[in-house]
């Protein structure tokens, strides 16, 4: 499988879960485990773009897939808009749910660049946060949406300005 853009392979027992493979074999410990029943979403990663709960995917099922984890969000020092949003709007407290929340909502923003409060609440309804009461997570996603739409507009402006000179 490709994980955050890098080809990774290993021999694993058939029963190994994707979350354990990521955490134990690849030492990508940003993906967390919060339950045993697919209820909490702390383990959410993206598989071929879709958010999946990696505690409910076998590692072997991810063979040949494109996996993205929280460690793959930032581009070097530059944080992705969703990360900036969580920071600016105080969308995290203990930070344990945060990677899963960001993986789900980054997928949402690709599908729906301008989500309403309800769109966001629905998207994260499979992810539990015990600290924030969700209010600021919603704001964080909106912040990221705005940032992304402004970034999308910016090159046009640059082009127009450039053309005018």
């Amino acid at each position: 499988m490709r994980v955050n853009g890098v080809e990774r392979s290993a021999d694993v027992e058939p029963r190994v879960l994707l979350v354990d493979f990521l955490r134990s074999n690849l030492l990508l410990t940003g993906t967390h485990i919060g339950c045993d029943t697919t209820s909490c979403g702390a383990c959410t990663v993206r598989m071929d773009g879709d958010p999946v709960k990696s505690c409910t995917v076998l590692a072997v099922q991810a063979e040949g897939k494109e996996i993205k984890t929280v460690e793959g969000l930032a581009n070097g020092a530059a944080l992705a808009p969703i990360q900036v949003g969580f920071h600016e709007e105080h969308g995290l407290q203990c930070g344990f749910c945060t990677p899963g929340m960001m993986m789900v909502t980054s997928a949402l923003l690709e599908r729906n660049p301008n989500p309403t409060d309800d769109d966001i609440r629905w998207a994260i309804s499979g992810n539990i946060c015990r600290c924030t009461g969700y209010m600021n997570i919603v704001k964080a996603v909106k912040y990221a949406a705005k940032m992304q739409s402004e970034a999308a507009k910016a090159p046009e402006h640059a082009a127009v300005a450039g053309g005018g000179e």
Partner: protein
């Protein structure tokens, strides 16, 4: 990276959190992220029965399984005198069961293996022969004649009764009741729930066989106290024990106690000479670690003909589980429950409490709560709303009539508390204003006429936090002070170390802000470290909203101490008299000539390079703060609900929360704490329930049965504030993390009861689920 990087970050500034970066990048350092070389893994075998005698345990087959290094039983622990350990309430608790199991999920044996999967696989091969005994699952069951004796291990224990405890004055209370115009009674059960932080508990014990140094990485809210307990229990030398509490994925009281797994992992590491990791899964967390509440309460409120409160009487039965392990100051058997007169000027009160053993998990932790304040606040606020309804007085009006008035502070309560400061009518007015109460009431009337079921609930809570004055408050004899050590480096940057432990509250930012305010070093230049007992000064830890009241005060005091030394240094540099210097955040200048000044950074540099005669070099200090009193945060919460008559479903339409937690250090963080607590309060009111069947099987052992509020059902919150500083706290702060969980459950339930009151329904115990509401309506003949 942050939009507030350039800000000074003093008190009152909503700077962005300094700790965010690592969590956003997936680089937090949670317990399960730690991997030590040569590390083994432990899994625990737990009892399937609530009450059973252990006839035999056969570990031979398990020991032969691949990868298994050792199988530990109670018998082996007993050889090292570690089969039992003390609890925080002066009782004993089994580490691994030797004689009987006393609750479902109790620790029976442990397997240590090369991998986690191997350890878990081998559990199935341990054979335990049980003789099942009848289970006791409630205080009533515990009292019943002929009920099974749970603690037959304790000499002189003839029944299941643990303690009787009283507060207040029986005589004057009885006399007041005799003269009362009316007595309003509420019997209510605050059910068992569980804090369920998203990260479960665990540890890695690493005993170095060469040096004897024992390092235990542990999900602990109170690492120093744990170190001392380990020294006393295991007979280890305290300087050889190091407890490291890494990043915690929430705690909410669940990570205060010592759990058997910690002790077994440490013993195993000691015996095997290799690090041993133990991480519980969610089910283990929910069925065996510190639960909360489980109080059966009866309150009687006496009022005169004008609706003035005269006296309060409360009796409660506490369901403590199989071992009395409540996490609370040792002098108080029912925690701080005697704050139960709340925000009201009630002349006399009498409280009686009895604790009982049952075949349920032990714990009694302060779940986002200052030691049973939550139960007290719930009882009085539910009782006051019921009284208002029964007396036909508006519930806001009835509260205002009986509030302790602003001029009565410091207020001496009937049960002996001295409330530091408050302005209850003001918080109420702000809440009613925000709600548009007058209009809303008309709307409710109009809609009720149309047959709709709708209501408003109010709760005006008073909390008591920040334990505590050390003379009255201790945990196992350790006085509940806290500490801060501040080191200012030559370049004017600083390191602050504390005895507390953040679980998401943002200590790395908030406490840096106190230094920024008091010593003038920008918050960005102050690193905050907690959780390593080898480096942090001794402290009692973070729970019961005590970090800001106690450790925050210690931080302000140590910063002031260093400021006085800096003043001397600045005077030396300016060749001026100390008394002639004026402090303005970040610099000293000579009175009358502001251009002659030295910054705190220049003074810090001088502390290492250019000192006055006879002064010790360096700019460092430590302060241990023992507070003179508790702090008393308060507020008014108001909730509006609609109830669907057909399904019993409750919809929370609005939730207005006005908090007064004294001075707010970082308002953004304070509001975040309030949001979180209101969501947990919502969960407790409507969803979160740990219950048991008659055999003592735990129902609520995973997140499909123990329902946690998600984003979809959690209401949106509207916040407001008033600010009444604490007069005795150095910066006037009171602590806030728990107010919303303490105050909100009663507000949510009061709204439902207000909505149902036209039908004569006076109580539904939490969690207020649709089926209970539906049944209550049907019982009164209400159909669609």
């Amino acid at each position: 990276m942050s939009s507030t990087m350039h800000m000074h970050g003093g008190i009152g500034e909503s700077i962005k959190r300094k700790e965010d970066g690592r969590f956003l990048r997936g680089k937090g350092n949670f317990l399960d992220d730690i991997v030590l070389p040569n590390m083994l893994h432990m899994a625990i075998l737990r009892s399937p029965y609530a009450h059973a005698r252990i006839k035999s345990i056969d570990t031979a087959a398990a020991s032969a399984k691949p990868g298994v290094v050792a199988v530990v039983t109670g018998e082996l622990m007993a050889q090292h005198k570690l089969a039992w350990m003390p609890t925080m309430s002066g009782d004993t608790q089994a580490v691994l069961a030797t004689d009987k199991v006393r609750f479902q999920g109790q620790e029976v044996a442990a397997v240590i293996a090369e991998t986690k999967a191997q350890a878990e696989d081998a559990l199935a091969s341990i054979e335990v022969d049980y003789e099942v005994l009848p289970a006791v699952t409630s205080p009533d069951g515990a009292k019943a004649t002929g009920s099974a004796l749970i603690r037959d291990d304790k000499e002189g224990q003839a029944d299941n009764h643990i303690y009787h405890w009283e507060s207040g004055d029986e005589g004057t209370t009885k006399a007041a009741f005799a003269k009362a115009h009316k007595v309003i009674r509420l019997h209510t059960f605050y059910p068992r729930c569980h804090p369920a932080p998203l990260e479960t508990c665990g540890c890695i014990a690493d005993v170095n066989p060469a040096t004897g140094k024992t390092t235990i990485y542990m999900t602990s809210q109170a690492p120093h106290a744990i170190r001392t307990v380990f020294a006393l229990v295991a007979g280890l030398s305290e300087q050889n024990i190091r407890i490291v509490s890494p990043d915690l994925g929430g705690g909410f009281g669940n990570k205060v106690p010592v759990y058997p797994g910690y002790v077994v992992a440490t013993a195993a590491s000691l015996l095997l000479g290799r690090p041993v990791k133990w991480i519980e899964d969610r089910t283990e967390n929910l069925i065996s670690t510190g639960f909360a509440r489980d109080y059966h309460m009866t309150g009687d409120l006496a009022v005169d003909e004008n609706g003035k409160m005269l006296a309060l009487h409360v009796h409660l039965d506490s369901d403590n589980g199989a071992f009395f392990a409540d996490a609370q100051p040792s002098k108080f058997k029912a925690g701080l429950f005697h704050i139960v007169t709340g925000s009201y000027d009630i002349p006399t009160a009498h409280i009686t409490a009895d604790g009982y053993y049952t075949n349920k998990a032990p714990g009694g932790v302060a779940y986002r709560c200052s030691f049973r304040v939550t139960e007290a606040s719930y009882l009085i606020e539910r009782l006051v709303t019921n009284a208002a309804i029964e007396l036909g007085i508006d519930q806001a009006e009835f509260r205002k009539q009986n509030f302790i008035q602003p001029e009565q502070f410091p207020y001496h309560s009937a049960t002996g508390w001295v409330y530091d400061s408050g302005d209850y009518p003001k918080a109420m007015d702000v809440a009613l204003d925000k709600l548009g109460y007058a209009e809303l009431k008309k709307d409710v009337e109009a809609r009720r006429k149309k047959g709709e079921v709708t209501g408003i609930g109010i709760a005006s809570f008073t909390e008591v936090v920040g334990a505590g004055p050390g003379a009255d408050y201790d945990i196992l004899g350790l006085r509940m002070f806290d500490s801060a050590e501040l080191r200012v480096h030559p370049t004017g940057k600083a390191l602050l170390r504390m005895g507390t432990k953040s679980q998401g509250q943002g200590h790395e930012t908030t406490f840096a802000q106190i230094v920024a305010e008091e010593l003038g070093i920008p918050a960005q230049d102050v690193s905050v470290e907690e959780g390593d007992t080898d480096t942090a000064p001794y402290g009692l830890g973070t729970y019961a909203s005590r970090s800001t009241p106690v450790a925050g005060a210690a931080t302000a005091m140590v910063a002031r101490q260093l400021r006085e030394k800096a003043r001397k240094l600045a005077a030396h540099l300016l060749e001026a008299d100390e008394e002639d210097l004026v402090w303005e955040r970040g610099k000293f200048y000579v009175k009358g000539s502001p251009e002659r000044s030295k910054t705190i950074q220049e003074a810090a540099f001088a502390a290492y390079t250019n000192l006055p005669e006879g002064m010790q070099p360096g700019l460092e200090g430590v302060h241990y703060y023992d507070p003179p009193n508790m702090t008393y945060p308060f507020g008014t919460y108001a909730v509006v609900v609609d109830v669907d008559k057909g399904t019993g479903q409750v919809k929370v339409k609005r939730m207005v929360a006005v908090d007064d937690c004294g001075v707010r250090i970082n308002p953004m963080i304070v509001e975040g704490q309030i949001h979180g607590g209101l969501a947990e309060g919502f969960g407790i009111a409507f969803m979160q329930l740990i219950t048991f069947d008659d055999e003592g099987n735990c129902i609520g052992s995973n997140f499909m049965d123990y329902l946690i509020p998600g984003s979809w059902e959690t209401p949106k919150f509207e916040l407001g504030e008033t600010t009444t500083p604490s007069p005795h706290h150095p910066i006037g702060a009171k602590g806030v993390g728990e107010s919303p969980t303490v105050g909100s459950p009663a507000a949510y339930v009061n709204a439902v009861i207000d909505a149902l009151s036209p039908y004569g329904i006076t109580n539904i115990d939490m969690p207020v689920t649709s089926d209970k509401v539906w049944a209550a309506l049907r019982s009164k003949g209400v159909t669609e």
